[in-house]
């Protein structure tokens, strides 16, 4: 759901001229108040959610302070909680997913926006929209039974034998771990990158392309050197959007990441993510500090996705504006 806001002039020039009473009698004011109440519910719920996360983690925040983010002990017996392994796992899996999803997604978006005939482009986009609708737990199911064995038997041994000199590809090939989680995430976020990037690329004014082609560029050169740079901010936006999705993803990651709070340079190592630890431990955490530490993790996740989503939206809007401004001249 890319929110491209279309501003239409508000059609209500009459409002000032009627008396309040008359509006009330005709139901306008009632309708306004009722719809306002519903709209404000949304604001209320959001405030409540932020408050709940903030208030619910106060004990942990006071006890651990900033240290929460840089210590790696997660010891429920001793009551010592540090979030570093979870933050690390969340970031690493998200980065792996972007490393795969960005080239693929942007490539596909370029194909859809620039090359494919309208009909084919729309059909493929339709399939990609369907792909975005596949629920997380289904990816987890496929991850557990299809991707993990393939990783363990073929891909990880292969990477070990060819790129094993890098610390990234060392250690036993469990099949589950950061790498597999990253790949599953990549599959999940590609549709977001494709859809948004395609929209952004399509919003690049036609004359930009034509000018480049007229100057003797090949089709690829006009795309890569003119159209893509023009849409750069918007594409960045789509990447941030994908990143936000990847960070908050729970089920598929829980099922393939290995659920162990470790920090390891090797991508083959099992790990843990913020969302996964909440899913696993929230319903069983006894003791206030334990629960509150988990809620603080939720807060961290919330803030991360909030910032990224905001940035993404800003970048996408900026590109769209630039496109329409250029289009007008």
């Amino acid at each position: 759901m890319a929110a491209t806001t279309t501003t239409v002039p508000n059609a209500g020039p009459v409002s000032g001229s009627r008396s309040f009473l008359r509006k009330l009698r005709e139901g306008d004011e009632i309708a306004r108040i009722i719809t306002f109440l519903f709209a404000s519910t949304v604001v209320l719920v959001t405030i409540l959610l932020v408050f709940e996360l903030w208030h619910g983690s106060s004990l942990a925040r006071h006890k651990f302070g900033f240290g929460f983010f840089v210590t790696s002990v997660w010891d429920p017996i001793a009551g010592d909680f540090g979030a570093l392994p979870f933050i690390y796992g969340t970031l690493v899996t998200a980065l792996v997913s972007l490393a795969i999803a960005v080239p693929l997604g942007i490539g596909a978006a370029i194909f859809l926006a620039e090359l494919a005939p309208q009909k084919i482009s729309d059909t493929l986009q339709f399939f990609i929209d369907l792909l975005a609708a596949v629920p997380s737990v289904i990816y987890g199911l496929l991850g557990v039974f299809i991707i993990v064995p393939i990783m363990r038997e073929y891909i990880q041994p292969f990477l070990k034998s060819t790129l094993g000199f890098l610390p990234l590809f060392t250690g036993p090939a469990y099949g589950i771990g950061f790498f597999t989680a990253g790949i599953v995430l990549a599959i999940m976020v590609i549709p977001y990158i494709v859809s948004v990037s395609r929209e952004v690329l399509l919003s690049v004014p036609r004359d930009q392309r034509e000018a480049a082609l007229a100057l003797g560029s090949t089709r690829w050169e006009s795309t890569w050197k003119v159209v893509v740079p023009f849409a750069r901010t918007g594409i960045m936006g789509s990447i941030f959007l994908a990143l936000a999705r990847a960070l908050g993803e729970t089920m598929a990651v829980t099922m393939v990441i290995g659920n162990t709070p470790t920090i390891s340079a090797s991508l083959f190592s099992p790990g843990y993510s913020i969302a996964a630890v909440i899913a696993n431990e929230f319903s069983e955490a006894t003791g206030d500090l334990y629960v509150q530490s988990l809620i603080e993790l939720g807060l961290v996740l919330f803030i991360l996705t909030f910032v990224l989503n905001g940035l993404a939206r800003l970048l996408i809007i900026l590109t769209a504006q630039r496109g329409s401004e250029m289009g007008r001249t």
Partner: protein, 342 residues
């Protein structure tokens, strides 16, 4: 469209009403260790007494303790006894206590998936502690090989699998390791969820067995029935009298024999590393956690009825599912304790 939606609404409302007048639904949550027998019991019990449905979700002992304390479920189940802090937390919250009822005995077994090894392996306590501390890392390490003469162990890396959730099975396993290894006792120690030195985490006994089945060269620990049902190899463990014993209801009962004689009144007792020649060292009772005070008399009576049935008639299902029956002395003591539920 509107007509369709209206129809749907009516159907759902009707269905909701029909169900609402149906059986009494009691919700419980907790240990995965006894889940196979509990789900069998609750199924059979519902067939016998159709007006009682007991919905049990195997979410782990830690969650069982937590959720019964929060009051979001009617009863909990755990194979780790609640410690004094947890009992106090419960009492503070509810103004009344919570009771432990041992329901059945089980064993935690080391399970493994080592390609090429089809015979049952033997493990010494030292080998188990070494593997789970991350010191023994290869399958052909002398610590393992010395107890398994004649078995061709590969030089592969050991993949350790443990629980990712708060678990009574973990509690029993680490309680045992703490008793046999002083290193383990200092760190990481015993508990329902601990900070593991090595390994992958699986959710529930189900998740650990699933991981072991799917991962070559792995070792983990589960309740016996999970190894039996999924046909995963499980090992004999050396007990305190120096014999390698394989878990079965006989060797588990032998481990419980001592505890049965002087069972404390609150039934909170550990039988890991129990003395006795044929005793399996990683055995345990598993408990239902029942609030001492129910606000709903119907639920209270149904619960009392079930416990009574479970520790008497229900015991006949135990051995088929590789659990050991409760010793007679314990059953007698529990039948009296049921009256404490109000």
């Amino acid at each position: 469209m509107k007509r369709f939606a209206g129809l749907l609404l009516v159907v759902l409302a009707l269905a909701g009403m029909v169900w609402a007048q149906g059986a009494l639904l009691i919700n419980g949550a907790g240990a995965t260790f006894p889940y196979p027998i509990y789900s069998k019991w609750f199924d059979e019990y519902h067939k016998k007494f159709t007006n009682v449905q007991i919905n049990y979700q195997s979410v782990g002992s830690g969650a069982g303790i937590k959720q019964v304390t929060e009051g979001t479920v009617d009863f909990g189940a755990s194979d780790a006894i609640m410690n004094d802090d947890q009992l106090k937390a419960y009492a503070d919250k509810h103004g009344s206590g919570i009771l432990h009822f041992p329901m059945v005995l089980g064993a935690v077994v080391p399970i493994y998936n080592v390609p090429g090894v089809n015979s049952a392996l033997n493990f010494t306590p030292e080998a188990l502690a070494g593997i789970f501390l991350g010191r023994v890392t290869k399958w052909n390490d002398p610590a393992i090989a010395s107890a398994n003469k004649g078995v061709n162990l590969p030089a592969n890396d050991i993949v350790v699998v443990h629980r990712s959730d708060g678990s009574g099975t973990t509690y029993i396993w680490t309680d045992y390791l703490s008793k046999v290894s002083s290193d383990w006792n200092t760190k990481p120690g015993k508990g329902a969820s601990i900070s593991w030195p090595v390994g992958l985490g699986g959710k529930g006994n189900e998740g650990v067995s699933g991981l072991i089945r799917n991962t070559p060269n792995s070792i983990g620990y589960v309740e016996l029935i999970y190894a039996v049902q999924t046909k995963i190899e499980y090992a004999s463990v050396k007990n305190s009298s120096g014999d390698f014993v394989k878990a079965d209801f006989g060797s588990v009962s032998a481990a419980a024999a001592g505890a049965a004689k002087d069972m404390p009144d609150d039934f909170r007792v550990s039988i890991t590393n129990a003395p006795g020649k044929g005793a399996y060292p990683i055995s345990s009772f598993t408990w239902l956690l029942i609030p001492a005070k129910f606000s709903d008399a119907g639920k209270r009576d149904a619960m009392k009825g079930f416990i009574k049935w479970g520790i008497t008639d229900g015991q006949s299902y135990a051995e088929n599912l590789s659990y050991a029956k409760l010793p007679k002395e314990v059953v007698a003591k529990e039948l009296k304790a049921i009256d404490k539920i109000q």
